[in-house]
C-alpha cells in the first residue's frame, strides 16, 4: 500500500523535525561552567571596569563593533559580527570567566548564532584557544607588584581584586 508508505514518510518527517527542534532547545539549556571562588584574601585595591569601557576596548581591538555583557557568576557574552563571506551574522560568544587559584581562566562554552546555540566542543580548537587567551590577557594586565586575588562579574561590569606583594 503506497498510502501507508506516504503516511510513514510524513510521520517520520514530523518526528525528524521534532527531534531537531528538541535538540536545538536542549543545546540552549545546557548549563554553563562556573568558576566561582570566594576570595579568601582581603584585597588591597579593587578596580571596577564597566561594560561600556570594555566594549569600547574590544571594538578597538577587533576593529569592528563589539559588545561585552557581563552577568553574575563569571558569565560573559561577547557579541560581534562575523564575516562568513555572503552572510555576516551577529554571533554571541558565551564565556565563563573566573579564578582558579591565582590564575584567571576563561572558557568558551557556546556560540549563539541567532536562535541556534552551538556547544564549544563542536567548534574549531582555534576558537576555543582564542577564548582561553582572554584570561591570559587579563592576567598579563595585572600591574607589577600586585597579584589578582579575586574577579567578580556583575551586570554593570567586572571587578578585579588586587593584593600588593611589593617590597
Amino acid at each position: 500500500m503506497k498510502r501507508l508508505g506516504w503516511f510513514g514518510f510524513a510521520l517520520g518527517t514530523l518526528a525528524g523535525l521534532l527531534i531537531v527542534l528538541l535538540c536545538a532547545i536542549a543545546l540552549r539549556l545546557a548549563p554553563a561552567p562556573v568558576f566561582v571562588e570566594t576570595p579568601t584574601i582581603t584585597p588591597d585595591i579593587t578596580v571596577f571596569i564597566s561594560e561600556r569601557s570594555l566594549s569600547r576596548l574590544a571594538s578597538e581591538t577587533l576593529q569592528q563593533p563589539a559588545f561585552i555583557d557581563f552577568d553574575p557568576d563569571g558569565q560573559m557574552t561577547v557579541t560581534t559580527r562575523l564575516d562568513l563571506g555572503r552572510v555576516q551574522p551577529v554571533v554571541n560568544f558565551k564565556l565563563s570567566l573566573g579564578m582558579q587559584g591565582s590564575q584567571v581562566v576563561s572558557e568558551l562554552h557556546r556560540v549563539n548564532v541567532g536562535f541556534l546555540s552551538i556547544p564549544a566542543q563542536w567548534l574549531p580548537d582555534a576558537l576555543r584557544e582564542g577564548s582561553a587567551m582572554i584570561g591570559q590577557i587579563i592576567q598579563s594586565q595585572t600591574p607589577p607588584d600586585f597579584v589578582l586575588v579575586g574577579l567578580i562579574t556583575s551586570p554593570e561590569g567586572v571587578t578585579f581584586q588586587l593584593k600588593w606583594v611589593g617590597e
Binding site: 500500500m1 510513514g8 518527517t13 523535525l17 588591597d44 571596577f48 569601557s53 541567532g114
Partner: protein, 191 residues
C-alpha cells in the same frame, strides 16, 4: 526481468520504510532549515551599543584600602608612619619621631591632616593642619610633610596617567569618597 517489490503484499514494511525515509528527511531538512533560518536572523540582527544612558555609573572605579596605604608607606628607617583615612575626603598622617632640643631627645608625635582634592585631571592632597603632640603648629612652621606631599601628588598623577594608558582613552575623575577605611575614586571616559 528485474524483481519488482510488491508494496501491496507488505504494507507494514512499506510504512516502516516510508517512516525511516521521512525521519532522515526530517532530520536533514530540519537541521538545514534551522541553520539557514538562524543565519538569516543573525544576519539581520545588530550588535548592541554599550548603554551610555546610565550617567550615574562610573566607567572605572578604584577602591584603595587604608591597610594597604599603611603597608605601602611603611619605611622602617624613617620611623613609623601611620595613615588614617577619614570621612569627608580627609587623610591623617601620624609620624612618631624624636625631636632634639637642648641636647635632649624627646619623642614626639607629628600629625598632619590632609584634604584630598579632586580636579577632572588629577587628584592631589593639601595640608590642612599640623600638630606636634597635639599642639597646632602655625602654617609657616608646618613644612614637616612638604616632601611627602610632593611624593604623594606625583604618585597620584602617575596613577591617573597609568589608568588612562590601560584604557587607551583620556579619562576624567568625577567622584571621590572616603570612609574610615577606604578611598574610592570614580572615573569616566572623555567621549
Amino acid at each position: 526481468m528485474p524483481h519488482q517489490y510488491d508494496f501491496n503484499r507488505d504494507p507494514v514494511g512499506c510504512g516502516l520504510l516510508g517512516c525511516l525515509g521521512g525521519l532522515f528527511f526530517g532530520l536533514t531538512g530540519g537541521a538545514t532549515i534551522l541553520v539557514i533560518a538562524a543565519l538569516l536572523s543573525a544576519g539581520a540582527a545588530s550588535v548592541p551599543a554599550p548603554n551610555s544612558a546610565i550617567s550615574s555609573q562610573p566607567d572605572l572605579s578604584l577602591t584603595i584600602e587604608e591597610s594597604f596605604l599603611n603597608r605601602y608607606a611603611e619605611q622602617p628607617t624613617a620611623g613609623a608612619i601611620a595613615i588614617d583615612v577619614l570621612p569627608n575626603n580627609q587623610v591623617q598622617l601620624i609620624a612618631n619621631t624624636n625631636l632634639q632640643s637642648f641636647g635632649i631627645e624627646t619623642p614626639v608625635q607629628i600629625t598632619g591632616l590632609f584634604q584630598i582634592q579632586l580636579t577632572p585631571q588629577t587628584l592631589f592632597v593639601e595640608l590642612v593642619d599640623t600638630r606636634i603632640s597635639g599642639i597646632p603648629l602655625p602654617p609657616e612652621l608646618s613644612n614637616f610633610f612638604s616632601q611627602d606631599i610632593t611624593f604623594i601628588n606625583q604618585d597620584l598623577d602617575g596613577l591617573v596617567a597609568e589608568l588612562s594608558r590601560v584604557l587607551k582613552i583620556p579619562i576624567v575623575l568625577n567622584n571621590l569618597r572616603t570612609t574610615n577605611s577606604q578611598i574610592q575614586v570614580e572615573l569616566r571616559e572623555v567621549q
